[in-house]
Symmetry: C2
Subunit: 222 residues, 2 copies
């Protein structure tokens, strides 16, 4: 599992030109949280390649605390799906009727169709990195894994693949289903595959769930 | 504050070619956590452009909970620097002597030189997104901001700019210094500027702090 440069020497620093930056911006614009998948399998080696790229992500104190659990067995997938359905039913109770109907209409998970599924955990007990940088903010361990997920998201979209993040789950139950080492922290469950459509705007925006804000409203100066 | 496509119509989905993907992989490979900065200012509008791109990041339930605080005043910067120094001194106490000397040698923060500095917070109380997707895992609010930070990191590197994440800080103290609305959660403090050097490997690896692991060792299958 190597990256395109994984086996090369150090080489000269790349210079990224305007054409690349424009395409990178398009990648940010067109990346989507995908809920609808075609059932076609991923190209051979695609997941391994994406996980290899993920390992290039920033991690606190070089701790690389991300742990990937590829979920292939029908038993495990069925149990995850059941946990999602139970949590989703609970979540619906807290929404008003009108919103609940929109909520229910949105296909919140590609769990039934996505050909590739994996969970991400972190290992806070890892000795790698010797604890550097995380004394006051241990949550930076989890943040490292989140950036690895975001790397997968972008790299997948650049290959025409879509990723969907399933967060309506019970973390303890998922750890139990996937029988991970004790102490691992559950970060998220992911569906990966060819999307059933390409969209420039988020599904939640298209469905009228909410609108995106003007970025300037998110900025203070001190 | 618009993205390159921010004012266009929906357009056709982009197709990313092999050349773009190779450059994207190079971006992942050469992105660094930068600690050494030149004092030269950023190009006009660069920060606003980067924060605009960050707003294209995934967010749980379309909540866009990220909040950016640009830190310009010398008083605020000095107070952040003092908090870092205090926390860093505490962190050093937990390291063995040999490691502590490496630790001290590493310039852990570009706080003295970085021309641009900002903090990122999240607003868990935001009504945007109507709570969707975060009932069982409220930490996904913070994860959304972390992906926005990662977007800035990548977009900055593509412009030849470096980002450094300062995590050795007391979150409560930073919120106090920056006088943010009550209830905001501190995610991280960031230095942005032209890096003093370009490197293919992390500074912590070059300095012998730790080595990176083989990605395959981070993967289980269930």
């Amino acid at each position: 599992m190597t990256t395109p440069e994984g086996t090369r020497g150090s080489g000269d620093p790349p210079v990224f030109d305007t054409a690349f930056r424009d395409d990178l911006h398009r990648l940010f614009v067109w990346r989507r949280d995908v809920r609808g998948f075609r059932r076609a399998p991923l190209p051979e080696g695609a997941l391994e390649r994406l996980l290899g790229l993920a390992s290039l992500s920033p991690s606190v104190g070089l701790s690389e605390p991300w742990r990937f659990v590829i979920v292939e067995s029908e038993t495990a997938r069925g149990a995850v799906r059941a946990s999602f359905k139970a949590c989703n039913a609970d979540a619906l109770k807290t929404q008003t009727d009108e919103r609940a109907s929109i909520y229910a209409r949105l296909k919140l998970a590609g769990l039934d169709d996505a050909p590739c599924q994996f969970a991400v955990f972190t290992d806070h007990a890892t000795v790698q990195g010797h604890g550097l940088g995380r004394a006051t903010m241990p949550e930076t361990v989890d943040y490292s894994a989140v950036m690895a997920i975001h790397t997968i998201w972008l790299a997948a979209r650049a290959e025409g693949l879509g990723l969907g993040w399933v967060s309506i789950l019970d973390p303890g139950r998922i750890a139990e289903i996937l029988d991970v080492p004790p102490g691992w922290t559950f970060i998220g469950y992911f569906c990966l595959g060819y999307p059933s459509g390409d969209h420039r705007t988020p599904e939640l925006e298209r469905e009228g769930w909410d609108a995106r804000a003007t970025p300037a409203t998110r900025i203070l100066t001190r």
